[in-house]
Subunit: 215 residues, 3 copies
Amino acid sequence: MDSAAWALLFDLLGVFFFAVSGCLTAAQKDYDIVGSLLLGSLTGIGGGVIRDLVLGRFPSSFAEPIYLAPPVLAAVVVYFLMPALQKLRRTLLMFDAAGLALFCITGTITALGLGVNPIPSAILGTVTAIGGGLLRDTVANVRPGLFDRHDIYAVPAMVGAGAVSVLWTLGLYSTAAGVVVAVVVFAFRVLALRFRWRVPLAASSRHRREPRPRG
Amino acid sequence: MDSAAWALLFDLLGVFFFAVSGCLTAAQKDYDIVGSLLLGSLTGIGGGVIRDLVLGRFPSSFAEPIYLAPPVLAAVVVYFLMPALQKLRRTLLMFDAAGLALFCITGTITALGLGVNPIPSAILGTVTAIGGGLLRDTVANVRPGLFDRHDIYAVPAMVGAGAVSVLWTLGLYSTAAGVVVAVVVFAFRVLALRFRWRVPLAASSRHRREPRPRG
Amino acid sequence: MDSAAWALLFDLLGVFFFAVSGCLTAAQKDYDIVGSLLLGSLTGIGGGVIRDLVLGRFPSSFAEPIYLAPPVLAAVVVYFLMPALQKLRRTLLMFDAAGLALFCITGTITALGLGVNPIPSAILGTVTAIGGGLLRDTVANVRPGLFDRHDIYAVPAMVGAGAVSVLWTLGLYSTAAGVVVAVVVFAFRVLALRFRWRVPLAASSRHRREPRPRG
């Protein structure tokens, strides 16, 4: 397989992981199977569509029918194998983390490959990675996980997108390097979830004045 | 009238129907008349703008000022003639169904006319048909009707968009055929509402374990 | 400074004002500092990105890294200087009004400068002005200020965008004229807030039938 085939494979895998997170959200909210397919599709291809619209190209998920497969597969898998309820949230977060890890790589690479400068490319990679999940939560009326203060969500994607941009600029990017970055981003995100790594709140003053219990 | 004029007329009618559904939502949420015009406009032209952005063309609703007329008319009609409250939801759903029926046709035809392949064209037609209502509900903080498990919403649009794509590919599409498809889609959607036609839920296992009352 | 430099300065100022409103919303919702930066960025550049996507050009906020500075600055300012809670809402509305006043000018001018007709340009200017705040409120699950019936929000932006379009068409637009329009729009919006200027509700009939207390 050449690097373009690997890139397509990673992108399809990322679509699948995010689509599963969308279908699990649909199951959580008691949507029907069509709503599951639609929310899974929106979550899976949403980030890439935003990226492609910014890049001014026909979204790859519309151009290539193969992109239909991962959301359909995700809806079927969730329909038959939905995890027990008490594990649903954790499963959802794992799939979301895997999508995040892949999309911050493929999103950045797509932009760099079209000649976009390194900084905007890393930003577009981050937007690709966080866009689908944000659309999922906004449309499903769920408080966006992106803004959950109890763990770190966007930082791993930013780090991954930034790393790919730097490697590419230095001429050191390869498919193997991309895999390593994706694994690091995934591990970073999962550890942040597990150990509730946090960053400071949006306002330093507020909580100095009125401390409140964690919750 | 030639087929392009018919297509424009259908599109403007679709914008009007969806705009009425947006203005009725605004009335339901006690927005003022400007909010009504804006939510009506977003609902009416939202699906088409997403379609045109994906297709990489200047959105027709911005290019041709005639597209301003349906949302203005809708806001005026709703202002003076808003149905009694107990009939509001039903009226809203009827207008929404009419918009759905027209947009799955015009959206698909627009994409096919620009040389897009049949499958992506049918998907874009579906996105055009369900996009405006999804934007309306998301922005107005209403649980999206698209994801309501008590009836079928997206399937009629998918069927209509698919039928148009097949007819076009076979060289059998005509304005009259489009009207027939739109009527079928509208009837399908209204019957699904009336008789609460459903599809299975997103997860087969969940409700096997914990049956719950309908509601 | 030539007029292009002034236009860039106004745009960056508008991004900063809206970004502050996004970061204040993040503080209100107890997001962390990264969520603050992201919501500030979305609010600050969201309207302009929608405008640029409609115009079919690479969004200026992605093309020019200088657009990164205002959201970062806004997140830092809000982190250290967040106003006392009882004044937070008012501060947020002031910054939002300042962004509105600037973006209805710069959004309209951007479209006119690319050869778009006066009416669509004024509409795009209005979309630029109200888009960022609508994205902010939708994503943060806040009832959109745009649809608040207790004051006038969109009308000042429409008036400002329309005025710029008329002045430009008559060959009378200048940077100084733009500043005057921005000041008028800002004053209009602030007076509407202060004195609770309103327009009629979306439906005349509803409240005729069932009067309800203001609230």
